[in-house]
């Protein structure tokens, strides 16, 4: 795609609008979903609560931004921006369909992971900058969690990249075209006439799914904001739009996570039966995944920090390493 300044501006504006709209309305979806799960209606005034997100936004924006005494002002102010900005940046390279992509890059996967790591940085700065003991404890937890879950996630991605032979998200999707049996989640693939067998692909999917939950700090891995232990975790001291940005960043990250799962494992915009591929399939898949995130959040209790780290270092990383080896071997065979 030819990238001019004009195109780039439009693409970025659309990406920001998509991220912001998703963040705002996923909060509503989450609250409605939680309500359904908990046998209560949730926000339901004014068109099924459609006016709730704007109201929340206005409320957050009109509140005073309090900076606690003794806090590091610069870090305190930068952290929420750092939570939201990388998430929006990641949207640039995500292909929603064959043609709808802001900028298709050959290192798309790498770029998204680079920006995802910045999210951990924002949590660290928020906890450290707000000079709150709960905040510091939460940010230390969140950073160790992010680091230990990026490792199995990246190893799993390497598996997919090896099978596809590309780090371009668009090409990864195209290699899975032609029906659900070609998707990376299933062990057998016959895309482009190349027969490929990888029996552990469903396991990779599961590892990636768990890691995405942990990367976005969602329950049951929401140790960074464990409200029954650490009050509100890293954003204890944040009010007003500082809190709002953290909140929106979380939901934008969820969309990124769901999009990545969809692209890497579920065939992106591809239709399960090979008919009418398009952006609607992509959106359907990511919203189904997001619904599963919401479902999990409101069903499971929280894990412990050591349980979480043990799961990563003792189970997920060995399995994903073995998976990587197996994939390399199988690629040599077929």
């Amino acid at each position: 795609m030819d990238l001019t300044i004009f195109n780039a501006v439009i693409a970025v504006v659309i990406a920001i609008a998509f991220a912001a709209a998703n963040a705002a309305y996923l909060v509503l979806a989450e609250r409605r979903g939680a309500g359904r799960i908990q046998r209560r209606p949730g926000p339901n005034v004014n068109l099924f609560g459609m006016l709730q997100p704007p109201c929340d936004g206005i409320k957050l924006m009109t509140k005073q931004l309090m900076i606690p005494g003794g806090a590091d002002k610069a870090l305190f102010m930068v952290a929420p921006v750092l939570a939201m900005a990388p998430a929006i940046m990641s949207f640039v390279t995500i292909p929603f369909s064959d043609t709808i992509v802001a900028h298709s890059m050959d290192i798309g996967v790498l770029m998204i992971f680079a920006f995802a790591s910045l999210g951990g940085m924002s949590i660290l700065l928020a906890g450290w900058g707000s000079r709150n003991k709960y905040g510091v404890m939460a940010s230390v937890r969140a950073v160790s969690q992010n680091i230990s879950y990026e490792v199995p996630m990246l190893i799993t991605v390497i598996t997919v990249v090896m099978m596809t032979g590309s780090m371009n998200l668009r090409e990864i999707t195209l290699s899975q075209a032609g029906g659900f049996w070609n998707w990376n989640i299933f062990p057998v693939s016959m895309a482009d006439g190349n027969f490929m067998l990888q029996p552990l692909m469903p396991v990779s999917f599961l590892i990636f799914y768990i890691c995405s939950l942990a990367e976005t700090n969602r329950a049951p891995f929401d140790l960074g904001e464990a409200e029954s232990e650490l009050v509100a975790g890293f954003h204890t001291e944040y009010g007003s739009m500082g809190f709002g940005l953290f909140f929106m960043g979380e939901y934008a990250n969820i969309v990124i996570g769901a999009s990545l799962i969809t692209i890497l494992f579920l065939g992106g915009w591809d239709c399960p039966l090979g008919l009418y591929p398009g952006v609607w399939w992509f959106l359907l898949k990511i919203y189904l995944l997001i619904f599963s995130f919401i479902w999990i959040r409101w069903t499971f209790p929280r894990t412990t920090i050591y349980g979480l780290l043990n799961l990563s270092w003792k189970i997920l990383i060995p399995i994903s390493l073995f998976n990587l080896l197996l994939t390399a071997g199988l690629l040599k065979v077929f």
Partner: protein, 372 residues
Amino acid sequence: MSGPISIQPGETFTLNVGPQHPATHGVLRVKMEMDGEYIVQAETVLGYIHRMHELMGENRTYPQVLPNLSRLDYLGAMGYTHGHVLAVERAASIEVPERAEYIRVLMVELNRISSHLFWFGAFVMDLGGFTPLMYAIQDREHILDLMEAVTGSRLTYCYFRFGGLYNDVDDDFIGAVRAVIPRLRKSLKKYAALVTGNIIFRKRLEDIGPISAEMCRKYGATGPVARGSGIDFDVRKNEPYSMYPEFDFDVPVYHECDSLARYKVRMDEMEQSLRIIEQGLDKLPDGPIMPKKKPKLIKPPKGDYYQAVETARGSFGIRIVSDGSKNAYRFKLRSPTYSNMHLFDEACQGMMIMDALAMMGSLDLVIPEIDR
């Protein structure tokens, strides 16, 4: 998980959990000396909502104190007023009609279930699962509605009178209770499937927060906390009072000593309470609910009287020293949570903060009852 801690002097920090903190369920403050996530030393600080109920008991007549007793533990108030009326009846030798005693047992057991249900929800919320709280509150709501219809209040009951009850139950109530029992049984099964069998839930409680039987004896812990540590003690069985000898029920005891054992004890107790209620409904005799002869002014003869009852949280004792006047000379309450809570300081040493707070949830603390 308690781990090895090597503390360098000056490398710890103090963390004030509370008095306003989501995990303490009230205005309890725990001063923790932390080494990272590990607790080196903890000290519970009390007194934020002390209301001098014991002194009030000495400055008011016996009937005037009765409502105070339901302000101790707002979740299981019925059991506490039961203790008071039993103690005063014993002191003043007031006869209680059989029907009144049966209805008292029914009410206390209903209240025990509602208290345990709320604890269940709050406990799972401590562990980060929100949804069971909503389910538990919905089930509790059925019980509260039943109790409201008879007693007139939803939490702070003042239903028992010296010698009987304020209000008789009717057939509607009995039918409604019979209808609620199978619904609660179904809910308990659902909780077992949704929460008790959950792997994350079990991992967070198994072998976490061990409290040995010796420690329970040392601090005087009673109730589900002691029964989760293998101490087979239930006032209803060991020092029977009211109509409990007439009922057939088991006392669940677990020997694992961990948080999961305490959880299981309470879940099993709800089932046993349902059994007691079923039997009570079958056996409920006809008759008056107040004695024919009752002194206008209650003046127990000179003496020292003590009555223990098993509330939802453990053994609640009430001691009345009477000098023959209409006020008590000394009015002493022995509340179960007060003893149970003091376990926390010793038991949480070396634990991680999230495990320690999960253990605190399993102790089922109700702060107004500690700070009475």
